[in-house]
């Protein structure tokens, strides 16, 4: 077992705290010291809630000493993208404008559920403004920086979440994913990231972006840690009208079942062209390890991506219309100008996009009648350099900020559960992700395959050397 708690997995920390070989207070103090020392370099946290964390750690230790039963995440530090409500903290959502709001009066439900399992919240994390971003860059609070190479992007919009986990500040972070904002930072920062099925985890107590696509989920350094966190957060919540009434379906019991009986295929067509060779090398490595030789085509995916793009523009603009009128100069210009354009998208386009969404969903669901898992690139490239405005995709130069999620957007468009797994190619100092995609409500299968890839040495997440 690692001697530095900052290098340990959530599972290892909880095991140590339960056994008494490590106190929750020791874990939290070590994390706070590392954050204090290194956050200035990485730009992960926008607010550290140290007093709250120490009090929670002491409560966990007191519970153990009194013979109480500790939860699955006892003593495990975590932090949240700053669009999650934390009691007493202003929910910034990456913006300057929201800084004028009152602090949240209570924690969001996912925060409450993690804490009910013994996890300890250390604070709020940086993000792209209002989550309209794939870079992790923020003109108000500074850019989050990739811990594996500080001159590169973390990816976004959950850039602080990716940075915090890769930097060893916390083993788990909560994030949101509308079009790829969990999976893109997972790819660039070399982490495991779970975007659950649309409607699976409550979004109450979080600042929205595009309600048609918004998902919440965890980032971590192992599939097992994702499973522990995800299982802790499931369950009904009447405060999110899109939240499923399905009962809790734990993933942990099946995590070690291996690949037996699973039908796994690579995504062809749209997903098999345009990316840099490293993205396809990663897919081939994963597919070979899994024995996946088949390929499936998700039909009309360029249209799916276009539809997701249009709905995002229009719903995002609608959400922010009054702020765009009243305080245009207080937005990040790169976000504002996209939102203003979104306010001018004809309703016809949006209605067409929603109609197409239904058709596409039905086609994709048919694929899962003969396939259990589909593999696709998470991003078309490794993390670009900080401040890089454009990227080359399929030989065409395009804006990086809207297009780094070109492979994630069609998947969240129809709400499929995905685990992005981190792949390192020999000699490279930056990782790249592969999406492990399952049918709706089959997070268990995506996590099971991610866990198999990890335990067989194919996927790996490291704490960066800083």
């Amino acid at each position: 077992m690692a001697s530095d708690p900052n290098l340990m997995s959530a599972h290892a920390i909880a095991t140590s705290v339960k056994s008494g070989s490590l106190s929750a207070r020791q874990v939290v103090d070590a994390a706070l010291a590392r954050i204090s020392h290194l956050n200035g370099k990485v730009g992960a946290f926008t607010q550290v809630t140290a007093d709250r964390a120490r009090a929670a750690a002491d409560a966990v230790d007191a519970k153990r000493q009194s013979g109480g039963t500790l939860g699955a995440l006892a003593g495990v530090p975590f932090a949240v993208k700053n669009l999650f409500d934390l009691k007493g903290v202003v929910t910034l959502a990456g913006s300057k404008i929201n800084a004028d709001n009152a602090p949240a009066s209570e924690d969001g439900p996912l925060v409450q559920r993690l804490e009910a399992s013994g996890a300890i919240c250390l604070g709020a994390l940086n993000m792209g403004e209002y989550a309209y971003d794939f870079t992790g860059e923020n003109c108000h609070h500074g850019n989050s920086k990739n811990p594996h190479d500080l001159s590169h992007m973390t990816g976004g919009s959950s850039g602080g979440s990716g940075a915090a986990v890769a930097a060893g500040f916390v083993p788990l972070a909560l994030a949101s994913d509308t079009n790829g904002s969990i999976r893109v930072p997972a790819s660039f920062c070399g982490l495991f990231g779970l975007k659950p099925t649309y409607g699976r985890l409550s979004r109450a107590g979080s600042f929205p972006f595009v309600t048609s696509f918004d998902h919440l989920g965890p980032l971590g350094r192992s599939a097992l840690d994702l499973s522990l966190a995800y299982d802790s957060m499931q369950g009904p919540d009447a405060h999110d009208p899109m939240h499923t009434p399905r009962s809790v379906e734990p993933t942990l019991p099946g995590l070690d079942l291996g690949l037996s009986g699973l039908r796994i295929a690579k995504a062809g067509g749209y997903f098999a062209k345009g990316a840099e060779p490293v993205a396809y090398a990663a897919i081939d490595r994963v597919a070979k390890a899994l024995g996946a030789s088949a390929s499936v085509d998700l039909p009309e995916t360029p249209r799916a991506r276009a539809a997701a793009y249009l709905i995002t523009m229009a719903e995002g603009a609608s959400l922010h219309h009054e702020r765009l009128r009243a305080r245009p100069k207080d937005f990040d210009p790169e976000v504002r100008d996209r939102l203003i354009a979104g306010a001018m998208v004809p309703a016809d386009f949006v209605v067409q996009a929603h109609k197409f969404r239904r058709w596409y969903r039905d086609q994709v669901l048919r694929l899962f009648e003969t396939t259990d898992i589909i593999l696709a690139p998470t991003t078309p490239c490794r993390a670009p350099g900080s401040g890089q405005k454009t990227m080359i995709f399929d030989g065409v130069e395009m804006l990086a900020r809207p297009n780094l999620g070109i492979y994630t957007q069609p998947i969240s468009f129809v709400g499929l559960p995905v685990v992005s797994v981190p792949i390192w190619t020999e000699g490279d100092h930056l990782p790249i992700g592969v999406q492990v995609i399952a049918a709706p409500w089959r997070e268990d299968l995506a996590l099971r395959v991610a866990h198999w890839l990890e335990t067989h040495g194919v996927a790996k997440a490291n704490v960066a050397t800083l």
Partner: protein, 73 residues
Amino acid sequence: MSADAKSVGQVVDALGPVLGLAIDAEMKPHVVTHLEIAFKMATLLADFTPAGGSADHMEPASIYSLGGQTHGV
């Protein structure tokens, strides 16, 4: 559908004041670029007809179907 920069710029000039959005000279080229992209994206959807079906009878995916029970969208 025509979506050249000039015609999209005219849309921006016309709609900005109507929507109460102040778009200065520095912002306008960026807004036009993003709206141009939206028009290009929309052309991909405009001519879509499902095989063996009719675009007139396509139904949107209700975000409130809470497919919860089935699909989630």
